[in-house]
């Protein structure tokens, strides 16, 4: 699974993209976040205020309960500020 990060989230993670092998028991975005929190404390800081995080699965806006699989591309980013 590819995970992408943008804006200040990218800077907190320290990279714009990472590839992980999604464990079998993880079925949605919420479970992925819990899994990341277990791996490294830096994620806890990012995801502590979930309402500030937007999610895309395969480049489409998604939610914390969207189902995911190992072939998906997930992105985490703050609300957008273009225009």
């Amino acid at each position: 699974m590819i995970i992408k990060y943008f804006s200040w989230i990218k800077e907190h993670v320290g990279k714009s993209e990472e590839q992980i092998e999604l464990p079998d028991h993880i079925n949605n975005v919420n479970e992925l976040i819990n899994y990341l929190n277990e791996i490294d404390k830096k994620y806890t800081l990012i995801f502590e205020k979930k309402e500030l995080i937007k999610i895309a699965v395969n480049k489409t806006y998604s939610s914390f309960d969207t189902n995911i699989s190992n072939n998906d591309e997930i992105a985490f980013f703050p609300p957008v500020t273009g225009g």
Binding site: K4, F6, S7, W8, A56, K59, T60, Y61, A75, F77, P78, P79, V80, T81, G82, G83
Partner: protein, 157 residues
Amino acid sequence: MRKNIPFIKIKIQNEDFDVSDEIKILHQNNTGAIVNFIGVVRGYDEKNNQIINSMTLEHYPGMTEAEIEKIVFESSQRWELTGVIVIHRVGNLKPSDQIVFVGVSSKHRQNAFDGCNFIMDWLKTKAPFWKVEENNNKKNWVSFNENDNQALKKWQK
């Protein structure tokens, strides 16, 4: 009623754009009205009371284009349009640089006004761009403006 799909051009680019070139494109077809929006980088961050020396725009390639396409398609189903051009710059920009162009043409003026306004409002809330302001050695990721969510209310059917 399903409406005709207008001429559509969507570009995400580092380079500046020439408004008159884009208007020439919109001028084609059977057009009576062209409405353009040009966004310009401002030199002052009012929220943080801070001078801005430069800013950098990043985006999510692939998703950006897809989101803008959805917005443009929706606008073309709400109003009878003949052409839509959206150009959004990314990378490093300076105050007074052009940052975004939205041009909409239609036979009738109110369709062009509404289509252009609608696209800008949705672009501001959905298209995955992020601005970071640079002032000397400090970086400040711009935070989302709640007014932009409020602006969407006028498009509720």
